[in-house]
Amino acid sequence: MKKTTLMIYKNNPIIGGVYKLYLTGDVSAIHCPGQFVELSVPGQFLRRPFSVCDWDRDGVTVVYRTVGQGTRRLAAMMPGEGIDALVGLGNGFDTSLSGEKPLLIAGGSGVPMMLCLAKQLLAEGKTVTAVLGYRTASDIFLADDIRYLGVDVHLTTEDGSAGVRGTVTDAMEDLDYTYFYTCGPEAMFRAVNGVANTSGQFSLEARMGCGYGACMGCTIETVKGPKRVCKDGPVFTREELLW
């Protein structure tokens, strides 16, 4: 973890209510996909956690949905403004366990982190498939960015307006995979756990206080006892979680 000031380079809507934020500065503390950053939004007491969507030598990309005051204030910030940030939080995904054909499963705010995870798995020479779930066709974001990397992307929408009608598990049935990585709402986790036929990793979200393991705000019960989502996670294996 590193505390640093990042500079807003771009902060643009990509679809209604979803923004892509590119921040430049020292992001050397990010070392693997699945980690997150905490951004201090002016006027808010607590920082806001966001997954790393992508990163390079010069900066980090975050894709966020405006849901409340903090994300709305973030959306109003302009290029050139500085943001006080904690960079490189959390354990991140372990790609060494993926086998040859990993499957990425994501919905909602779980989609962004799949971009850098897909990049990493592809760089390791693996064949990557993804199932991305959305409510409706106009909600779809980042699916093309992930497809262009060379990922076999399957879409689902709840109303059937694009891809398979239903939820991510409706598209998982016929897929052949060696391992899975998933992030999304809790109901999706339960459904994935119900149908998946391999081991896998789940990236959890929790209401956070600190984001670095000090306040015990984000704790979950696991087979190995209480764990902090922010510091011991956010990524946990299927076997560690209590179902």
Binding site: M1, F45, A206, R207, C210, I220
Partner: protein
């Protein structure tokens, strides 16, 4: 040159800045980021007899200029604190610490305090009779002067170390509770713990916290905390550990002027892992700015003239 050194119940402090219980873990997370030996001391997470998961999540919420928590004393139990957490802390922090003690009965307070009393690292016992997040115990001891005195006496019997009673602001008259603790032999009082509050999520139209209520802390509570420290200072002659919304060196000076001998920093650590470090580093300049050369000289200064 300014002097930031003080003494709290006879134990020397390099400076008055102490991370508050529950907001600093057992120190290791912060020791990864900076040398925590710059701190005056630190207060450990409240220890109970049994291991506790705490309350269901969500147990953190935000409010204007502060936060709410309903963590509910998650801790591995006093024996594990002694066997694992304190030795790990000793590797990164070499000064006496405040051991924060909780309990669900007078006997449990005494039992936990007796165990922590034997740890050489423990400088003071900070007895939390004020946690608003646990039912059947906790705060009820701090809301009744008679019970507060009873816990104080029970703990004093089992320890030779200074006993700081940590008081709740969720009372009509905090002064009477502070007096009761002093009369029962307390060596100091620590105040304030969090103020009971709540928050509503407009999207779900339900309370944000699974526990419905939680403790409010952070800058939002500072005026209340300062007022209480000021009132208690008028009424007791034992040292006061002041807290509630401290996030800058100026805040430290305000608490000392109100009557605190040292301060704890809570919610500020949750928002910024370097909060205490920044306060300590900026304290000498803030003192100089207000013409203060020795912190000792300003304790209770707001009461004179």
């Amino acid at each position: 040159m300014v002097n930031t050194k003080l003494s709290l119940c006879g134990i020397a402090l390099d400076n008055p800045v102490i991370p508050a219980s529950g907001t600093f873990g057992y120190g290791h997370e912060f020791a990864e980021y900076y040398d925590i030996n710059i701190l005056g001391s630190l207060s450990t997470k409240g220890a109970t007899r049994e291991a506790r998961f705490g309350n269901p999540t969500p147990r953190i919420a935000e409010c204007a200029a502060g936060m709410l928590n309903s963590v509910g004393l998650q801790n591995p139990g006093v024996d594990a604190v002694i066997a694992e957490e304190l030795p790990r802390l000793a590797r990164v922090f070499h000064k006496p610490v405040l051991a924060n003690v909780c309990g669900f009965s007078v006997e449990e307070y005494a039992e936990n305090a007796a165990k922590l009393d034997k740890q050489p690292q423990v400088g003071w016992l900070e007895i939390n009779i004020s946690c608003p997040n646990v039912h059947c115990g906790g705060m009820s001891f701090g809301t009744d002067p008679r019970l507060a005195a009873e816990v104080t006496r029970a703990v004093k019997v089992v320890t030779t170390k200074p006993v700081m009673m940590k008081l709740t602001p969720n009372v009509t008259d905090i002064v009477s509770v502070a007096r009761a603790c002093e009369d029962a032999g307390a060596d100091g009082v620590a105040l304030i713990n969090t103020l009971m509050g709540m928050s509503i999520d407009l999207r779900s139209k339900r309370p944000v916290l699974a526990n419905v209520t939680g403790g409010v802390s952070g800058p939002a509570v500072k005026p209340v905390a300062l007022r209480m420290v000021y009132q208690v200072y008028e009424a007791v002659s034992i040292p006061i550990l002041g807290m509630g919304g401290v996030q800058s060196a100026e805040d430290v000076l305000e608490f000392l002027l109100s009557g605190a001998t040292a301060v704890e920093v809570g919610a500020a650590n949750v928002a910024d892992p370097f909060a205490c470090k920044n306060i300590i580093e900026t304290l000498p300049a803030a003192m100089a700015r207000y013409g203060i050369t020795d912190l000792k000289d300003i304790i209770g200064g707001a009461h004179h003239g």
